[in-house]
Every structure is written in structure tokens, then in C-alpha cells.
Amino acid sequence: MSRTARIRLFWAAAVVFAVAYAAACTGLPRFGTLAHPYATRAVAAALHQRTANVVSSVNFDQRAFDTLGEESILFAAVLGTIVLLRHARDERTGRPRPGRVLPSTRLLGMVLLPVTLLTGVYIVAHGQLSPGGGFQGGVILATGLHLAYVAADYRVLKRIRPLAFLDAADAAGAGAFAALGLAGLVAGGAYLQNVLPLGTFGQLSSGGLVPVVNAAVGVEVGAGVIVLLAFFLDQAVEVRSPEEHGTGGGG
């Protein structure tokens, strides 16, 4: 198809799509209606499970199986990246050059790195109480570590990033979620059913399995994102195409 034909065809079809979607949206419930069947039930169920953060209750208790699937997608994406970005036979690697960093940037990084990691841990640990949880906290943990790359250089990042361990931690986090679900079956209930005491509403230890699953997801997401970024950074910083010579790249 020629470029013009392709674009005309696309727009003709896109107009039909847009009209139909607009027509469908007129059938939606009015904005700001008070009652929603699922929301009403989900909040009641979250309170019953003494999980203050209803979103976490939905994600890690009421519809935990969806979340198991979602974190498996992340796990699969990390494995897929390992496969697709592995070093091919014709790729040459060079050593990253030390980068020059302003002293103020270095200082800021040194201060912020521990603070960011702590924030990440806090967000993971308080997932059952306040906005946040394993997914959000895990990403903060992973990005915190990369402050080392911004504030120092790639070699420093490589030193503080035990990839082999993180790779295993990623898998272990994913496996822990699936395995925690078995506890419900062992206790005679359903898969992913809560087996822990529910605790006191609003306390760190409330919500039964929710904080435990949150921690597993936090480990998986944090480790997974670091491994994911490691393979992309590796391609950008260390791998050279066969034509390109030199030791450049870097910091």
C-alpha cells in the first residue's frame, strides 16, 4: 500500500471507530452518581478485612489473582528482556568511561540515595494503610538505586548492584506471591484466601496477608526493575556495534 492509501484507509476507519465510541459513551452512567455496585461492596469488604487502603484490599486480597497475573507479566517481561538483550555473538563490549560529575550533584545523590530507599521501603510497608504498596514502592526502590548512576557513574552503579542476587530476588518475589496463595489451600480454604489474623484496623500489622503479599511484590518489582534497567543500560553504555571502535560511552 502506498503511504497515502494507508493513511486514508486508516482515517476512514478511525472516523467510524470514533463515532461508535462516542455513541457508546452516551450510554454510560452519568458523571458523579453516588452508587456503584462494585465500589459499595469492595469498600465494605475492605473494612471487614481491616484493610484501611481499599485499593490494596482490592489488589492484594479481593482480586489478588489478577495481581498475581500482573506481577507474572512483569516477571515475564524481565525474563524476556534478559533473552532479547543478551549479548549476541557479533556484539563487542567496551568498558564504560568514568564520568565527570559536579561535586554538588554528587553530594545531592549521596544524601538522596538513602532517603529514597527509605521512602521506598515505607511505601511498600504501608501499602495496606495509605496510598502505595508493592508496585509503587518497588519502583521507588529501583529508581533510588539509580541515583548512583546520576550522581556518580556507571561503574559505581555496577558496584552497588548485585545483579545475580537481584535476578534471583525477582524470581523469589514472584514465586512467594504464588506460594503464599497455597497457604489458603493448606488451611482448608480457597487459593489466596487470608490465613493470618486480621489485626487492628489502621495498624501496620492489619490486613492479614495483604502486607506480606505487598512485601513480596515490593521485592519482585524493585529487583525486577533494576534488572530490566540494567540490561537496557548495558546495551546503551557497554555494547558497541561491530563497525564502531573505541572505548567511549560512559558516565
Binding site: R6, A13, V16, R63, F65, A76, L79, I82, A168, D170
Partner: protein
């Protein structure tokens, strides 16, 4: 342990297996990794076989997290399996086990430090497909649909040394993701209206509304993702590009079950959500989807016949057969569903076996080009025999299960679409004939070396990188044993009346939305319809033999036709060539490999479906 507890285990077992392989693969030797993968795959087969036996002709229902419905309402996710869903999951698990055994010695070197990655991805793929087949929740189905997608893209691009797999995986990923976004839009519309995500629950909530634009548009959007996965024309363009470049063991899974899961998903969603009194009327859906199925089948058959790249040929034959499956499912009768279930089960074995033998050729000769390999397969008599048998089974040779499934579906179509039998015969003959033609040329050296007919771009399949790098070694035993066993299972589907009978009763369950909704709510009721007849009939055998003979004739004509010097042959050849130029060449040009074209066709497909369903 209750039978229903096996439902979530069917997903959890492969997930845990993938974790074990990733961690264990770092320090275990290759043999141990392969053994570990085999054990996990076998465990899932055992789990699902037990579930199949325990469920019987009813449903197994598991409310995850113990969120049982109170007064008919629940906040949780339900897994609901009947023998169609469980059977499909069992088929997936069996094929995964076969693929893992097949690839014991397949890849030369796994990624350094990550030896378990390939089997781990296969197990994750299995978890995604089983979850999709067993869930009774629309959003949960979407999650597992995405899981199988994400894994499939990575597996397709596995051979990174070659740019073609990466391109194929990219097209696969983008086209399927756009389809999935459409599905998500549709799910959003349904959730906004009903506040429910369970299939049965949405279905019963929709009954209180009159069918309006929202429902029709939501139906089309949800279907789009599933039809993209099922490679229905014009959503099919990604399939040949991905299947022709993916590693052979992965192709066995993609063509064997993943594409068919798209058809299953479409049928399941229609029956449980949209088939109610105020839903999409049966005659309307039947006309639209039978038409789409027939179009897909014909495009697949014509393109399959044209290919010389063996994997591309098999990929288009999958398109052709999926068209037949869709048409059969769209008959909306228990008999049609039973026929398709049999057909899918048998087709999976045949198609995987054909891909498996193609892998042997690729291993030995570093090529999958029908023309380049002319006569070079003579040293592989066993592979040649299996490839030929696979071609015959694809064409519908009795007593293979493909023939039985085809016969039952054709019989089911007789009342409303008597001409559908002709489509089934032609499509299976053309796809089977293409395989037979290639088999005779490659393994028998039959006929003269073929000449090129059409100017223009063609995927030849020569210069492929062998997926394994030691052409002098003996062919590993599993690479020949697995296709042989797969062909036997396909044969078993045709000759075991007990299996056909249970699929017939399952089809009756599958097409009864009241029975499904009741089972989800915890009380079983017997379906109303009669159990369809799924035995061999004289008429079915005759049609099956006709398509087999036609396939053989087509193959013979293609091989020896050009060399014949009868009177009138010249005019016949000229007429054929003219037809080829006017039909085949434009069709082939449409399969341009250009991502922008494919996306445009996808949107055109959605627009057409919207117009047809709104009419």
C-alpha cells in the same frame, strides 16, 4: 482436596516452576534444568488430567480468596471450568510438555548465567494460557491474555542474531497490544454499566438493559483483542510474520493452541455475556462470524498454497484452519461446538508435529525453503513419513481426529449453510495439499525443480540460520519421537469414541448460558439441549476422503503439471497464471510486512465489525 482447588493450581504450578527454573538454572547443569522443566510440565498435565476426570460433565468452580458470592454478589474472581475450558488447558499442558521434551537438546547455548530462561518462559506461557482457559472473569481473562502475549513476544524474538525474528516479534507485539487495548476499552464500558467483571455476572446484569450502542460497541471492542489473537482476517497479518521466524518449539505452541485460544475466548465471552435475551441476537452474530470465518479460511488456504517457506506455509494453514474453527463455533449449536473442539484437539497434534519435523529439516539443512531443499530430505525417511502423514491428516484423512472434527462440524452446518461443507473440503485440501507437495519435493525429490512464477517479493526461507549449530551431529531422539507421539494423539482423538462423547456433552454445557451462570452461583442444573451426535458417519467419511484425494491431486498437479505436454495444457496453464496474477498477487501484496499497513487493516477490521454489528 477438592476438585475445584485444582483450578488455581493449574496456574500456580507453572508459575512456581518458572521461578524454580530461573533460580535453579543459575547453578544447575543443563541436564538438570531440562529434567526440572519436564517434571514441572508433567505436574501440570497431571493436575489438569485430574481436574478433567473430577469435573465430569459438570463444572468446577473456585472462588479465589474465599470470596464466595453472598446474595448472588461477590467482590472476588471466580475460576469456572467445564470440559471445553479444562480440555483446552489440558491440551495446552500436554503440548507444553511435548515442547519441553522436544527442546531438551534444541538450543545450542542458553543465555549465559540464565540457562533456565527458555523453559521458564515456556512455563509462564503455559500459566497464561491455562489461566485464560479456566477463568470465569472478564478482566482476569484479560490479565492472562496479556501474560501469554508478553511471553509470546519474547519467545518469538528469541534468536536475536537474526534481525527477522526481532522484526516479527515487534509486529506481533504491537498489533496484539492494539487489539488488547480495544478489549480493555470494551471491558471498561461493560464495567461502567454493570459494575461487574465476572462473565456470568455481567451477562445477567446486561439483561436488565435493552441492547443499545454501548453494548454493541463493547461487544465489538472485547472481540477485537480476541480476534486479533485468533488471527481472523483482517486481523491476521501478524501471524505469518511471527510464526515464520519464531523458534520451532515456540511455533508448535503458537499455532497449536495459542491462536485457537482466541476463538475459544470469543465463543466463551459471547455465550456467557452477550447471548442473553437483550444481547446480541444469534442470527446476527451467526451471519457475521460465519462470514468472517469463511473469509479467513479462504485467505489462509490461498496464501498457504502459495508459500515455499515451510514455516510460513504452516502459519497460513493455521490461518485457514482457524477460519474453519470460527465458522464452526459461530454456528452457535452444540454440534458445531463439539466438532470444533474435536478439530482443535486433533489439529494441535498435527500442526505441532509438522512444525517439529520442519525443525528437523532446519537442524539438518539450515533451510526451510521448499524449492532449495528439493530432494535433500532423502536422508530423513522417518521425518519424511511423518511430514507426509501430517499433510494427509491436515487434509482430513480418516481416522485422524481432524477428519472427525471436520465431519461433525460440516454435519452441524448442513441445515443453515449447506455450502459450508465445500469450504471445509477446499480449505483442508489446499492446506494439506501444500504440505504434501512440499513433502514430495523435499523428501522424495519428486518432479522437476520448480520455477519461479510471480515477480515481486517472496519469502523464500533459504539462508535461515540453523537454530542449532552442529549440523553433523545425529538428530536428537526427542526431535523425532515427539512429533510421532503428537501424530498418535491426533489419531487417538479420532478413534476414541469416549473422548468424542465427553466433548459432545461438554459442548452442550458450553453453549448453555443458564447452566454456566447457575454453576458459578453454586447450583448445578442440567443443560436443556440434546447431546449432539459425534460419531463417524458415512457422509463424513466420504467428505473426508474427498478432501484427502483432492489434496493429493492438487499436490500432484503442482509437482508434475508443468512438465505435462498434453493438448490444451498450454491454455490451462495460461489461464491458471492469469488467475494467479489477478487474485494471488494482490493478496500477496497485502501481506507487505509493513507495520503501518497492518495497523490500518486492524482499524478497518474494527470499523467493519462495528458497522456490521450495528446494522
Amino acid at each position: 482436596m477438592r476438585t475445584a482447588d485444582l483450578l488455581p493450581l493449574a496456574v500456580a504450578v507453572p508459575l512456581l516452576g518458572a521461578v524454580a527454573l530461573v533460580i535453579g538454572g543459575r547453578w544447575l547443569p543443563r541436564v538438570a534444568t531440562d529434567a526440572l522443566a519436564t517434571v514441572w510440565a508433567a505436574m501440570d498435565v497431571a493436575d489438569l488430567a485430574w481436574l478433567w476426570a473430577g469435573t465430569g460433565d459438570g463444572h468446577s468452580v473456585s472462588w479465589l480468596g474465599g470470596w464466595y458470592p453472598r446474595r448472588g454478589e461477590s467482590v472476588g474472581i471466580v475460576l469456572a471450568g467445564d470440559r471445553i475450558g479444562i480440555g483446552l488447558a489440558l491440551l495446552t499442558a500436554t503440548l507444553v510438555l511435548a515442547v519441553i521434551v522436544y527442546s531438551w537438546r534444541y538450543f545450542e547455548e542458553p543465555p549465559a548465567q540464565h540457562a533456565g530462561t527458555f523453559p521458564a518462559l515456556i512455563l509462564l506461557f503455559e500459566a497464561g494460557m491455562c489461566g485464560f482457559a479456566l477463568t470465569g472473569d472478564l478482566f482476569d481473562a484479560f490479565v492472562f491474555f496479556e501474560l501469554m502475549g508478553a511471553v509470546a513476544y519474547a519467545l518469538t524474538g528469541y534468536r536475536i542474531e537474526d534481525p527477522r525474528p526481532v522484526q516479527g516479534a515487534l509486529i506481533f507485539g504491537i498489533v496484539n497490544s492494539i487489539g488488547a487495548y480495544c478489549s480493555l476499552l470494551g471491558i471498561g464500558l461493560l464495567y461502567a454499566r454493570t459494575g461487574e467483571l465476572g462473565l456470568a455476572q455481567i451477562g445477567s446484569a446486561l439483561q436488565t438493559h435493552r441492547a443499545d450502542a454501548l453494548e454493541v460497541v463493547a461487544f465489538v471492542f472485547v472481540m477485537t483483542g480476541l480476534l486479533v489473537k485468533a488471527a481472523v482476517v483482517p486481523f491476521h497479518f501478524w501471524l505469518p510474520d511471527a510464526h515464520s521466524v519464531a523458534p520451532t518449539p515456540v511455533c508448535m505452541l503458537l499455532s497449536g493452541v495459542m491462536v485457537e485460544l482466541g476463538v475459544y475466548g470469543a465463543a466463551r465471552v459471547y455465550w456467557t455475556v452477550f447471548s442473553g435475551p437483550h444481547g446480541i441476537p444469534h442470527p446476527h452474530l451467526r451471519t457475521a462470524f460465519v462470514a468472517a470465518g469463511v473469509l479467513t479460511a479462504l485467505v489462509g488456504a490461498v496464501m498457504c498454497w502459495q508459500q515455499r517457506h515451510l514455516k510460513r506455509m504452516l502459519a497460513f494453514s493455521t490461518v485457514g484452519h482457524v477460519g474453519l474453527f470460527l465458522a464452526g463455533m459461530a454456528l452457535l449449536t452444540p454440534a458445531g461446538t463439539a466438532g470444533v473442539a474435536l478439530y482443535v484437539a486433533a489439529h494441535a497434534g498435527v500442526k505441532a508435529a509438522l512444525f517439529g519435523t520442519t525443525g528437523v529439516l532446519l537442524d539438518r539443512h539450515g533451510s526451510v525453503d521448499e524449492h532449495g531443499l528439493h530432494g535433500r530430505g532423502r536422508d530423513l525417511p522417518l521425518a519424511g513419513a511423518m511430514f507426509t502423514l501430517g499433510g494427509l491428516a491436515l487434509a482430513g484423512l480418516p481416522p485422524f481426529g481432524t477428519a472427525l472434527g471436520k465431519a461433525v462440524t460440516e454435519h452441524a452446518a448442513e441445515g443453515r449453510f449447506p455450502w459450508l461443507s465445500a469450504v471445509f473440503v477446499v480449505v483442508s485440501a489446499a492446506t494439506g495439499g501444500a504440505v504434501l507437495r512440499a513433502a514430495a519435493r523435499i523428501f522424495g525429490g519428486a518432479g522437476p525443480r520448480p520455477q519461479e512464477h510471480y515477480a515481486g517479493p517472496e519469502t523464500t526461507g533459504s539462508g535461515e540460520e540453523p537454530e542449532i549449530r552442529d549440523p553433523q551431529r545425529r538428530i536428537p531422539a526427542p526431535m523425532l519421537a515427539v512429533p510421532a507421539i503428537l501424530l498418535c494423539t491426533s489419531l487417538a482423538v479420532g478413534v476414541l469414541p469416549a473422548l468424542a462423547g465427553s466433548l459432545a456433552r461438554a459442548a452442550r454445557q458450553f453453549t448453555d448460558r443458564t447452566a454456566y451462570a447457575a454453576a458459578v452461583q453454586g447450583h448445578a442444573i442440567a443443560p436443556a439441549a440434546a447431546v449432539p451426535d459425534v460419531g463417524w458417519s458415512t457422509e463424513g467419511v466420504a467428505l473426508a476422503l474427498a478432501s484427502t484425494v483432492l489434496a493429493a491431486l492438487l499436490a500432484a498437479a503442482a509437482i508434475w503439471g508443468p512438465a505435462l505436454a498434453w493438448r490444451g495444457m498450454g491454455t490451462a496453464r495460461a489461464a491458471l497464471r492469469a488467475a494467479g496474477r489477478s487474485v494471488v498477487l494482490p493478496l500477496r501484496r497485502l501481506h507487505s510486512g509493513h507495520l503501518g499497513d497492518y495497523v490500518s487493516w486492524l482499524v478497518v477490521g474494527v470499523a467493519l465489525l462495528l458497522l456490521v454489528m450495528a446494522a
